[in-house]
Symmetry: C2
Subunit: 484 residues, 2 copies
Amino acid sequence: MANVPITVAHGDGIGPEIMDATLHILKEAGARLDIETIEIGEKVYLAGNSAGIAPESWESLRRTKVFLKAPITTPQGGGFSSLNVAVRKTLGLYANVRPCVSYHPFVSTKHPVMDVVIVRENEEDTYAGIEYRQTDQVEECLKLISRPGSEKIVRYAFEYAKKFGRKKVTCFIKDNIMKRTDGLFHRIFDQIAPEYPGIEADHWIVDIGAAKMSDTPENFDVIVMPNLYGDVLSDVAAQIAGSVGLAGSSNIGENVAMFEAIHGSAPRRAGQNLANPSGLFLGSILMLVHINQPDIAELAHNAWLRTIEDGVHTYDMFKEGTSKEKVGTREFAQAVVDRIGQKPQTLKPVTYSANVVETDAKPIYTLPHPAVKELVGIDIFLDWWKGTFYGVANDLGALVEQVNGNGLKLQTIANRGVKVYPDGQPDTFTVDHWRCRFVSDQGEGHAVNKHQIHALLERLMVAHLDVIKTENLYTFDGAKGYSA
Amino acid sequence: MANVPITVAHGDGIGPEIMDATLHILKEAGARLDIETIEIGEKVYLAGNSAGIAPESWESLRRTKVFLKAPITTPQGGGFSSLNVAVRKTLGLYANVRPCVSYHPFVSTKHPVMDVVIVRENEEDTYAGIEYRQTDQVEECLKLISRPGSEKIVRYAFEYAKKFGRKKVTCFIKDNIMKRTDGLFHRIFDQIAPEYPGIEADHWIVDIGAAKMSDTPENFDVIVMPNLYGDVLSDVAAQIAGSVGLAGSSNIGENVAMFEAIHGSAPRRAGQNLANPSGLFLGSILMLVHINQPDIAELAHNAWLRTIEDGVHTYDMFKEGTSKEKVGTREFAQAVVDRIGQKPQTLKPVTYSANVVETDAKPIYTLPHPAVKELVGIDIFLDWWKGTFYGVANDLGALVEQVNGNGLKLQTIANRGVKVYPDGQPDTFTVDHWRCRFVSDQGEGHAVNKHQIHALLERLMVAHLDVIKTENLYTFDGAKGYSA
């Protein structure tokens, strides 16, 4: 079989050592790779590339479509942006996949039976970083969840489960509160799950789900989540497995995929032949399966499991009693190489070859028939402050009622999601950020048009009411597209 | 000392039994209470009150300002809204406080040394439930964080620590990503912490913090968080302490406070003298301290600890070997009553009397000098779809450039937070939700005015570009109030 081109970056700190160790194992296991090397990280930042990667390196990534990346150091001081964010955004890496496995009794953990894979949506949610200072007192961040974004990640989770012989995919959402955004994610999960009849599907509200996962992770298999929950809970899962230093992850896009360790560049350990290469190595195992070399992945991963089991441990894993031999980075890699062809005796051997299946060529996303959208009103957000946190809602109401007209009328005013006008409670605490909902004077749900909205905005301007933000209200196929 | 009026609701399912048990212990411990009873829950919902509480019951809550609440059952079917949300919103209960304690070796847990209090902001964040369907493909939820809201909760956490003799308050935020919203929460934490020199203050990025808390909770004391993180992590903390059935919580407002168990009404266990009253009982301990009866709180809480330690356990806690006697709800309460005056021998006794201090009369919130706000542009959000997820940004750019004029010009177009125009990548995946940023044609940061904005909106309308949402761009005291 032909070699597969990949792009490799050796990174900073312990990066070069653990990359050398990883590549040594891969080579000896027979991985069929053509390696292109690029430089990323500290030197590249300091040479004036604000994201830590040179423009020409993107060409390599776009050509090979596979990136094995060592950890980097972001220089101190301002003006440097995250390399991972740049790579994720530029290449559309929508899925972050993190297997969290315990290696009891060889690595200490309170959860001896744990083998959970977190599949985290990687582009949307509050992590798009779209924020606005609204007023003196209020900041806002937009949480965006899209249908195609959710479809991509949910389908990826099921395809992953199928490819790796997993039995169950669980969805974590908070759709009892965020009925629209998390509701969309949940609905898409429910739509896609039946396409995979061999895989069990269930869901938890994220608070209870997180509690169960933290206490009894053995009851979970693959868990798919929106970005924020996935960020927090993938760290929880890696930590309680006892193995942050042993976890690798992949970042998957439609064209390009990146594989790495989840830990950082640990500059204080650099250059001393101390670091544990296991995180990056396990990232490279995900890469081998991705580029369709499951035979090599299986050989190398089983040799690594056997090494762990034989008690050949780097300093971070070494524990008197359990461990047998404390070794350096190079010696650890050599110990794995020496065990190529062997399987673990206590830990469960991996069997990628047997499980890899041809995936059906599903579309990555489908679009239902476009909904019929009708404009039915607008939420106008005002910056307004009368010097006190209490009892001013009726004063604002009186001012805003004055701009009613040409078919639009003020329906309610809310403050931080609590209705305060009309019929509010005088003891409700209010800040300087007010949402005024205007609907048709024929009643809520009746169509209005953009000209009416535009005229309303003009009247607000003339009345010196400080509009800082608007959200149009629509129905989609006759159903309300906005919360109360 | 005079009796303190409180409002009590017996709730549904196991509610009446555990409330009777709790009130029996409080009475025998000498609590000085005048009890007003209100009805909430299933019957009240079915009588036509959509939030499960009758209008006249609010009067009792506003009068006594103290609410001891048993769990309720929300009827199946639509149209019923959450009682807790209604109470929280109407009465402004801004702080949710949940002590999570392990009772090793008497209650099994993987974390024998755990005594963490989660203080969760309860009104803001994405939990205000403000959501909009934006387009065919995209849903939005607003995350709002306010200065006074953050100040209230952070100050509450420190005051709590002071009152209960706690040593450290930790803040969990994600301000490396949400620099404005979570950044505000963090900044206020840093401002308030120095007012409490006897209490250690630190902070974690929520992902790492959650991982540490789940693995080694013994390193945490009081943790204060925005709403969403607090929701998820308070459930994690209660579960890993081994004691969801044993946890009480308080919901604190400026005027009214509510105390409850964190578990539900468990209808299948109802009426059988089976249920464990400990969650509600521990909620009532928080209430006793709140109404300044720390002597009674200490007596009752120590008697309860002694009962747990003596192995007198309800069915849910009973474990052969550890437990001595399996008892019902009433017998458990009587066992606690029988131990009033005793202290635990193995578990640490509580000492509320010694720790209660007069709190300085700090203001709940302060307002710095209002910032000078200057309008410098607007983000216009468009619903636009050209039938494909790739390669159309330049087409949209060309259309939008046509509305430039009267001092405003298109600066960038972004899609889900990724810049796609000008100089976008053709392989960037885009959905039907576009953010067009307009700034002064003198350059970003130059002032513009509302009339220019209004004229721009008119040109967009005439050009049939479908504006669905706007966010004005401001500087505050010269600093940008918006993300890139």
